[in-house]
Symmetry: C2
Subunit: 479 residues, 2 copies
């Protein structure tokens, strides 16, 4: 199943750095068309372009030739038609919190910044669904629906846009209980490469009508079309919520306790692992005083008595694996502080090495393999030359290394790449996936082939060629 050795990260980097010298795709006729359409909302300043050619990975900035700020789906259609007419690539952009280079203009082109399309269009509280524009962020949506007793559970940490989250099939801390974007997008409106706009699903909770186009566009990373509207599932805010942290003697013990809890069917809403290095970084960054040991962070949702019951069962399992006493956060503001600290782990860990950027790994394995996968990975990173905190959504079998590299050092990049490649192959050999939630982007295209085999990827290519025959929609990503 293994393809030829993937190109090294250094090669990716050099390629991207080389992009800086290419000719702009923004010809005068296209500029005129976009200017007529958008006026000042066509921007070509270096600063804005660089900002839009950067995500939170360690890839060098790879700016698009122009950035446009559409405000309606009709404007997106017009922009797509203009770019298609001139054969210019299009890259959808939310807030740039991707970690796999999704928004980098690796083949030049026009970036569509969708952040002004941020209206919540329709809340159907009785049906637990909502229709939004793609630039609405998850925190904005939650603020909007909170007073109706509802929430949107998918929480990748960053305050990403829902369009971006749908495009990368995001998940995050609540996925073990509520699923991922795959399960929580009911339908979408998509602008295709030729400017056609289609609707892929309605508001019914289930449907057996035709091909599941919604799921085809969710996770397509903008390579098949641009999402201009989403219908999402909402959930009632549970009557009871409690959060706790529990330190363990070893990472293995913590992971074993999670495996047992999942196998028992305890419907935990969140269960996050942070290794001692991560806890230390989080303590310093978020001014917490947690014991610097491998730690699980839990959240339980349900009725008041159901939450108590879940927590009791979880405590018993934790204790049998050497877990210490649970430290509880029952007040909403304590919980918010705790999860904010978890979400800030990215920034906290960056402080472990001055001037570093991160290469994030993202494997997900069947839960029974998780302890072994983490153990072997820890043995591997023990030999690394840089700090590498480990944390993750262990209830799903998904964990991350945050490899802190000096982005100017080819040796660092190569070491990180080799480590990531070994990790991905370890996970694939265990029946896992190269990416649980970050997506393929630029960084994992070779691994996609290793994971599925060349023929499956060839089928993906044929679907891409059908919907985007000239390869204009976020080219160079996924495939």
């Amino acid at each position: 199943m293994h393809a030829a050795t993937p190109a090294s990260t250094t090669a990716h980097w050099s390629e991207l750095r080389g992009r800086a010298n290419r000719t702009s795709s923004l010809t005068a006729p296209l500029t005129d068309e976009l200017r007529a359409l958008l006026g000042e909302r066509l921007v070509t300043s270096r600063q804005v372009r660089e900002h839009h050619g950067t995500d939170i990975s360690s890839y060098p900035a790879t700016p698009p030739d122009a950035v446009v700020f559409p405000e309606t789906a009709a404007e997106v259609v017009a922009i797509v038609r203009a770019c298609a007419h001139h054969g210019v690539p299009m890259i959808p952009y939310g807030v740039g919190t991707s970690v796999e280079g999704h928004v980098l203009a690796s083949e030049g082109g026009v970036c569509l910044d969708l952040s002004r399309m941020n209206r919540v269009l329709e809340i159907n509280a009785d049906d637990l669904d909502v229709r939004v524009e793609p630039g609405v962020t998850r925190k904005q949506l939650n603020a909007h629906v909170r007073d109706q007793g509802l929430f949107f559970p998918i929480d990748p940490g960053a305050d990403a846009t829902l369009g971006g989250m749908a495009s990368t099939r995001a998940s995050g801390t609540n996925a073990v209980r509520y699923g991922t974007m795959r399960e929580n997008v009911l339908g979408a409106t998509v602008v295709l490469a030729d400017g056609r706009m289609i609707r892929t699903g309605g508001r019914a909770r289930k449907s057996a009508a035709g091909y599941d186009l919604t799921r085809l566009f969710v996770g397509a990373e903008g390579t098949l079309g641009i999402l201009v509207e989403l219908t999402l599932r909402l959930h009632p805010v549970p009557e009871g919520i409690s959060a706790a942290v529990c330190a363990f003697p070893t990472v293995a013990a913590a992971v074993e306790s999670v495996i047992e809890a999942i196998q028992c069917g305890i419907p935990v809403a969140r269960v996050e692992l942070l290794d001692a290095l991560t806890v230390g970084a989080v303590n310093r960054y978020s001014k917490l005083t947690l014991a610097e040991a491998p730690t699980l962070w839990y959240e339980f949702h349900g009725t008041v008595s159901g939450v108590e019951e879940q927590a009791k069962a979880m405590q018993a399992i934790a204790r049998s694996h050497g877990g210490r006493d649970f430290a509880w956060s029952t007040l909403p503001e304590e919980r918010t502080k705790l999860w904010q600290a978890r979400h800030d782990a990215y920034f906290a860990c960056l402080q472990l090495r001055k001037g570093s950027r991160m290469i994030a790994t993202d494997v997900c394995v069947p839960i029974s393999k998780l302890a072994r996968c983490i153990e072997e990975t820890r043995a591997d990173i023990a030999r690394a030359s840089m700090p590498i905190p480990l944390f993750g959504h262990v209830g799903d079998g998904n964990f991350h290394l945050m490899i802190l590299v000096d982005p100017g050092s080819d040796a660092d990049l190569d070491e990180a790449w080799a480590l990531n490649a070994r990790l991905v192959r370890r996970a694939l050999a265990m029946g896992g996936t190269c990416t649980g939630e970050h997506g393929i982007g630029l960084g994992k295209r070779e691994f996609l082939v290793e994971e599925f085999g060349a023929e499956t990827v060839e089928v993906m290519r044929s679907l891409k060629a059908t919907l985007d025959p000239r390869n204009l929609m976020n080219p160079g990503k996924v495939l």
Copy 2:
């Protein structure tokens, strides 16, 4: 959005009846190839062909030209290559419990009966997943995993094959809690129209790797390829299970109570509505003595105390809508009897009209619209000339009419078709879907266009043309 008036059912019928006289696609060279490959497992007897050209709808038998019984994926590949070489249509077949004509050989060809591919290949109890061949039925799977404390929740009533259930995106009574086949298929192995065999997903609980081909084949009704292996999610058998029935003064009151329960987030595992006519039929067929009134059948899953709590909350809501006392089935054999009676509602209702066949409707609407949709539908069927029991999975917003027609009467067929068309349009106007779980098959192709619009269906067509350019995989279905 409304297309031209769909062809009447009578037209469908005449078309299918006309198929009886067409020339067989089974040429001598193809016969020789298949015979060399399969020996006696190539069958052309009239009886076997007629059996395989019939489902449980009221469509006339539309036999394939031959039936083959592969026993391995490699044999499916060889059969597909042979049929493709000779340009002959292929129709995958499980046990023939489809209700939309999916298995009818409306364009002739070879039926692949996959029932001999019925091995459970690998159970990963610790990971709550299982790998099966497509001919394994849901009851077979449940018998196989029961002693490991696991179950597969998707339950469409009939003891369908898992391949067939995946192909029609089946759901049934447990979907309100456990989702549909969409949420419970982790990955598949598929033989494409040209004989390529691809794997679409692994065992990780979530993945952001590439296009979601699994979801593309789930629900494709065999028109994009033939499923030869499935990886499915399993669930731990809950510690506590209880079932109850509750009679209501009116259908509207029963439905209103369900809407309230869903909006409160009560995680009921099953909640089924049977109208008085259905309850009467079920009483007679399954020798029960339920009050012949609109009735809800519930099942609760969870911890013992969680189930009690759910049931108590549900009872309070039911009572506030005029529901009578709950009649409980706590013993497993009582529950089995109850749900078997629910599943036999199809046979029970057929007894309401001697010699009848059924046309089943299958709309699904947002839950807030369910009461109005059912109410308007009941007003409509009150004027019908035939008995029309109503029941359904109301927790999902999905309900069925079972229109009992004399299959020889064009007047009956036309009346039923018109009724179904009015119902579908009512549901679509409410943001619903023309099919919650039965699929499009032959009967709902026009409605697919009404539901999504011509351009969306054109995109589906282009995907079909990419994967099956000569239209050999179950042609005439879905599109």
